[in-house]
Symmetry: C2
Subunit: 148 residues, 2 copies
Amino acid sequence: MTDDLVLRRQVCFALYAASRALTDVYRPILDEHGLTYPQYLVLLVLWERGDEAPTVSELGARLRLDSGTLSPLLKRLETAGFVDRTRSARDERRVEVGLTAQGRALRERMDEVPRRVARATGLTEAELIGLRDTLTRVTETIHRQKEQ
Amino acid sequence: MTDDLVLRRQVCFALYAASRALTDVYRPILDEHGLTYPQYLVLLVLWERGDEAPTVSELGARLRLDSGTLSPLLKRLETAGFVDRTRSARDERRVEVGLTAQGRALRERMDEVPRRVARATGLTEAELIGLRDTLTRVTETIHRQKEQ
DNA sequence: ACGAGATAGGTTGCGCGCAATCCAATTGCG
DNA sequence: CGCAATTGGATTGCGCGCAACCTATCTCGT
């Protein structure tokens, strides 16, 4: 069954290519605000948390990114003025990541972004939901397996 | 409709997370052979071409990667002994990328890899095919739009 | 109260991705 | 033929992702 080793048959390549293609759609939009796509994901988490100011590892759990990725990324978001980082008073090991006024203000200006991107995929609303749920299931299956 | 700005609603995050999760499945398998996932993709193209020895830009067109990514990657594959690069005689600008004996030999040892990975997704064969086709459609829609 | 282990986050190093730039080879147009 | 424009590939720079390692802080058992 050597034919399985053919690029166009591989789900994995389709996933890899589609992920980069979608990032291509985001790039010019986010660029107007000086953001990268992973930085935008961090802001999405902060926006959805409201005033909770998650720690670095809570952000990491949500996005499945470690401190090696998040530390410098958050430093850049802080330099850009969207975020502030404060050592927790109760536990000096923790760093709480909160939105600045500028970071909160950005949310409204980003309101229509997901719909613009969704339109670019050419999929219907139902297809998008199905795709998202299948992908989420795959991700969770894989991570559940890794835990033992 | 401010609620669209919520992480778990975003297809794009599902795609990003699933792509990294699947790469996680590949990593330990490819690691046994000293390969990274993008290097494996390059080998997939070379295996499927047989004796054709595509140029760097043909590889790039297939994988949607540019010379900035491929040049150093191919240099590493050459150092590892899987690939050779030769300037084309007819057009000195072109570099043809061919498999070494070691690169060809690797193919057999990789035979069952796609099935192992497919199993890790927890999806049925039909779901995998549907997913792949949807993703391919998305990628092609996006790239068609970019061309004008 | 104290010392071993766990935990949180930062740093380093490396390999992508991608934009921007550069150079050499080729093409094409007058 | 001759020169401008194009093409193919390499290089540089930067921001992820991720592994490996480090330090500071906290927890918990005794």
